[in-house]
């Protein structure tokens, strides 16, 4: 275990490595890494709820999808939209829905909370799936990706490199923000709520507003991830809001290891890479057609052998060595 003074070195080194990566990998690799970074932001937002506060949500994809849809829907048809406008709006819309969902669903606990968040997630899914707003099953496409004006210069997300670095910056910012939140009084209170909510109330903390604030913040960050995905794929479709997507991001943070920010990032990377690896014909041969089998058995093996998630791997190896 790294000690507290040098703990910040690992994420910073990781960010630098990600920054240098485009120099050595192909455009296919860059797209894959971008996808991982988008899902890392999404996973980090859920980690604040599940890992930190102990609130398991199965409707988190709603905020992700809303972020993506807002980005695509509000982009002008014939010219590039502005990041300055679209990014805050995507996050605000996601946060607004999170405020409503959180205010109602935080009245319930445990498995019931899981199911109410699922219900609200599915409601959002059907709004985009069944009504004219989302233009049906196929979703909608973005004609031109947004542009970020910085004084006289501009970051054009139509350019893959610009897109890559904006995504990386968003991931770094999210990670740093959450690291600060966890060290703050607010973050400590959330951790306290996870361990023993009764006691926190007895100690004089109004736990409901704390949980609601965490829920809204997580929703806003999921909206950010949605914006990044829409900018990356130039499209949004209803499946982004479905419970499968909520399930996948939950799997990512469990796989990586709950209770640590780096677990969310590692989980997002591991899951995306495994899925890609097992589906690639040139690497696994004919097994590629049966990626579900290999992925399924791998996940079962991971959970059976590593109850702490992938971040427990080094400790596990140390004990195995003696």
């Amino acid at each position: 275990m790294a000690n507290a003074k040098t703990a910040w070195l690992v994420p910073v080194a990781g960010a630098v490595a990600l920054g240098l990566l485009p120099l050595v990998v192909t455009t296919y690799g860059q797209d894959l890494v971008m996808r991982i970074m988008v899902f890392a932001v999404f996973a980090l937002s859920l980690e604040l709820l599940v890992g930190t506060t102990g609130l398991v949500s199965l409707g988190h994809a709603a905020f992700f999808g809303i972020g993506a849809y807002i980005t695509v829907l509000l982009s002008p048809a014939s010219e590039a939209g502005s990041v300055w406008l679209l990014l805050p709006l995507a996050m605000l819309a996601a946060a607004a829905y999170a405020l409503v969902v959180g205010a109602l669903s935080l009245r319930t606990k445990g498995i019931y909370f899981i199911m109410v968040t699922l219900a609200f997630g599915q409601m959002a899914y059907f709004v985009f799936h069944d009504t004219p707003v989302g233009r049906g099953t196929d979703g909608i496409f973005l004609n031109l990706r947004p542009v970020l004006e910085l004084g006289s210069a501009a970051l054009d997300l139509g350019d893959r490199m610009h897109r890559y670095y904006l995504t990386l910056a968003a991931l770094a910012a999210t990670y740093a923000l959450l690291a600060l939140v966890l060290r703050s009084r607010f973050g400590r209170a959330l951790a306290g709520i996870k361990v023993n909510e009764q006691r926190m109330r007895a100690a004089g903390f109004p736990t409901y507003p704390y949980k609601l604030a965490a829920f809204v913040l997580a929703g806003a960050l999921a909206g950010l991830a949605g914006f990044l995905l829409a900018a990356k794929d130039a499209a949004a479709n209803p499946e982004l809001l479905s419970w499968h997507e909520s399930g996948v991001v939950l799997l990512m943070i469990i796989l990586g290891g709950l209770g640590h920010l780096r677990g969310a990032v590692i989980g997002a990377a591991a899951f995306t890479l495994l899925r890609e690896l097992y589906g690639t014909y040139s690497i696994v041969g004919p097994l590629a057609d049966h990626w579900q089998l290999t992925l399924g058995f791998t996940v079962i093996a991971f959970v059976a052998l590593l109850p702490q998630g992938l971040i427990g791997l080094p400790a596990r190896l140390r004990t195995a060595r003696g």
Partner: protein
């Protein structure tokens, strides 16, 4: 809405609700007694549907014998699966159970794809159930749907008798209301778990077999029904079979009528979830929450 149409929709709602009940009753027991969140429950439904597809040609008109054979196969499968896999899950945290049973869905889907393929299949209704009965002067109603409802009611009554009138049922109820106390009083909890799990698998597979001639048999058919099942379990109150019955019928009616009401039909998919949200906000532990833990 004309009376006949209303009546047909009511019958459809009851039939759908009862089918959901077969699935949800097993799930609520596995959840309430063993404390396992089993995402793979939808796979057992799919298993049943594919069993109907594979077995139907061999049994011809002996549809009931086929159902019985399928139930026995599924129960044996559940028994082995509990022994080989699920018995290791009880000590794990809920979230790890979620992850592992999710992985199990992938494995089942792939095994299904390897053994039966990815095509959509239909299962023929046996001749003696193929007709339809007149309903009023204008409408008819398929006999098979009536048979499906009747079969589900028979199973529900059987389940009621087993749970409320037998020694095994007494142990099941004891386990659902307080697992540790039941163990303390000398109930062989491992054997109970195995039986309950096998029973849950058999019920889910039976639902799949009955549903097969109504819908078609297709890949991933389990995942759609899984979430609705969890909705039913949670609305009814975890571990409560009566609650599951009540919630299944409620969901059946909301879903069926949501699809035919003129203005609302566009948003039909939302109806069930709206129902759940409202119920849980008013009664955070479901309709019939069990007392104690």
């Amino acid at each position: 809405m004309p009376l006949e149409v209303f009546l047909v929709q009511c019958l459809n709602a009851v039939q759908y609700g009862l089918l959901l009940f077969l699935l949800a009753s097993g799930l609520t027991l596995i959840f309430g007694i063993m404390g396992v969140i089993n995402l793979a429950h939808g796979s057992f439904y799919m298993l049943g549907a594919y069993m109907a597809f594979v077995l139907a040609p061999h049994f011809g008109q002996n549809f009931l014998v086929m159902l019985l054979a399928g139930v026995l196969i599924a129960a044996a499968f559940g028994f082995v699966l509990e022994w080989a896999f699920f018995s290791y899950l009880y000590q794990r945290e809920h979230l790890q159970q979620v992850l592992m049973t999710w992985a199990l869905i992938l494995v089942f889907e792939e095994l299904r794809s390897l053994s039966v393929g990815n095509d959509v299949h239909g299962v023929k209704v046996p001749d003696w159930l193929a007709g339809s009965v007149p309903l009023g002067t204008l409408m008819t109603y398929p006999v098979y749907r009536l048979f499906a409802s009747a079969a589900c009611i028979a199973v529900a009554i059987g389940l009621y008798v087993v749970v409320n009138r037998t020694r095994l049922g007494m142990m099941i109820r004891a386990g659902a209301s307080n697992r540790d106390m039941a163990r303390g009083l000398g109930v062989d909890i491992r054997r109970l778990y195995r039986i309950v799990f096998a029973g849950g698998v058999a019920l889910a597979a039976l639902a799949g077999m009955i549903a097969a001639p109504l819908s078609s048999v297709y890949p991933n058919m389990g995942s759609g029904v899984l979430i609705i099942c969890f909705v039913v379990v949670v609305i009814g109150g975890i571990g409560s079979i009566t609650g599951a019955l009540l919630a299944s019928l409620l969901v059946g009616f909301v879903d069926t009528f949501g699809k035919v009401l003129p203005v609302f039909s566009q948003y039909a998919g939302v109806g069930v979830y709206l129902l759940m949200a409202v119920i849980l906000i008013l009664r955070p532990e479901g309709l019939l929450a069990r007392r104690g833990t």
